[in-house]
Each structure stands twice: as structure tokens, then as C-alpha cells.
């Protein structure tokens, strides 16, 4: 118990506060996956929605005679 408490307070010191440790454990950790794609693997496909909110396209539609730089991210 003491070790848990100590770990938690060390983590909150480095992460900014106790809320950040909770946020990390509750929301970030479950989403954070290394994934198992490797260089040389076939690139997976998925359907995406355009910024107009209606039309869709697939990642593979953008594969052509040039390399494709694919960037994942969000606003926050």
C-alpha cells in the first residue's frame, strides 16, 4: 500500500498532478498501443470520411505511383 502511494505521488510530481496520473491511467493507457505493423508489411486499408462530413474514401485510394506519408493525430 505504501509503495502504491509512493509511486502515485512520484508520478503525480512528474506528470503535473494527481489528476494527470488518473487521466493517464484511465484514458491514455487503454488507447496506447504499439501496434504490430512492421516495415515491409502490406499497409492496412480503412474507410475515411472527407471534411465535408458526407463523402468517404479509402486509404488505399490514395496509394499511387508515389510514396504516401500517412499522419495520425487529433486536435488536443
Amino acid at each position: 500500500m505504501a509503495i502504491l502511494l509512493l509511486t502515485y505521488s512520484v508520478l503525480s510530481h512528474f506528470m503535473g498532478g494527481p489528476r494527470d496520473v488518473y487521466g493517464f491511467l484511465r484514458y491514455a493507457l487503454p488507447q496506447w498501443h504499439r501496434g504490430d505493423l512492421k516495415v515491409g508489411d502490406r499497409a492496412p486499408d480503412a474507410r475515411l470520411v472527407s471534411l465535408d462530413g458526407r463523402s468517404t474514401f479509402r486509404i488505399h485510394d490514395r496509394l499511387a505511383s508515389r510514396p504516401l506519408v500517412l499522419v495520425f493525430g487529433s486536435y488536443t
Binding site: A28, K38, F72, T76
Partner: protein
């Protein structure tokens, strides 16, 4: 993000780019970051595709983000296929194979590595002066 815009500026004549907007990393109803509060970037985690699309549009217009963008559907299919959360870069070659697999953000997210790949493939960025001076 500036790095991405620069990469796009320097190499979009030789490579294609696609940004995929995925589930929020730090929405206000989850693990919110002070830096986002300071910049007024406060959104709850989108519960509908329309909300996701709206935030993606806010982002592109606020930063004049130049990359073509697609929004991951609510089943997070693209994110799950690529383990993209919270941010990550891949380069896919002409044969449809993964040529560069970037590390997981935020700690191992390194746009300069993607630049290195493009540089070794295509050479350094062409000088902007050739394009801008007339």
C-alpha cells in the same frame, strides 16, 4: 504540426500526404492538458461522426493545415489498423508496403525521421527561392 506543414511544402511535389483525424487525445471530459486550456482548445470527446468532422475542420482552418485530411469513422477502424493514437507517422511505398513506421506519440513521434526518409529517397528539399522569386 509546423514540421508537417514544412514537410508537405518541401515534398508534396514528390510524395502524397494524408492526415487522418482520429479520436481526441486530451478532450475536456477525459485527460485534459493545461496547454490546451491555455490555447482555448477545449472539446469533449466526439460522440458522433458529425462532431469529429467539425473538430477536424476547426483544426484545419485554425492552423491553415495544408495536408489533405480524412476523418476516422466512429469505429476507429483506421486508428486500430495502424495503432495511430495519439499521433504517429507512417510512409507507405508505391508497392503498398510500410516503408517507414514512426514511433508512438507523444514521446516517439518524430517528423524529422519522416523527413530523413524522404530526403534519402528524393534528396534535400528544393530551395524555396526557385519557387518564390520571379
Amino acid at each position: 504540426m509546423d514540421h508537417l506543414a514544412e514537410l508537405y511544402r518541401d515534398y508534396s511535389d514528390r510524395a502524397d500526404f494524408l492526415a487522418v483525424y482520429i479520436r481526441e487525445a486530451h478532450p475536456l471530459d477525459e485527460w485534459q492538458m493545461k496547454s490546451n486550456v491555455d490555447q482555448g482548445v477545449c472539446y469533449p470527446q466526439p460522440q458522433s461522426l458529425a462532431q469529429r468532422v467539425a473538430i477536424a475542420n476547426d483544426f484545419t482552418s485554425r492552423f491553415q493545415f495544408p495536408l489533405p485530411m480524412g476523418v476516422d469513422e466512429m469505429n476507429d477502424a483506421a486508428n486500430r489498423a495502424y495503432a495511430g493514437w495519439p499521433e504517429r507517422i507512417y510512409i507507405i511505398d508505391e508497392a503498398g508496403k510500410i516503408a517507414y513506421r514512426g514511433g508512438l506519440g507523444p514521446f516517439n513521434y518524430r517528423p524529422e525521421e519522416a523527413r530523413g526518409w524522404l530526403q534519402s529517397r528524393f534528396g534535400p528539399a528544393r530551395p524555396a527561392s526557385a519557387l518564390n522569386f520571379r
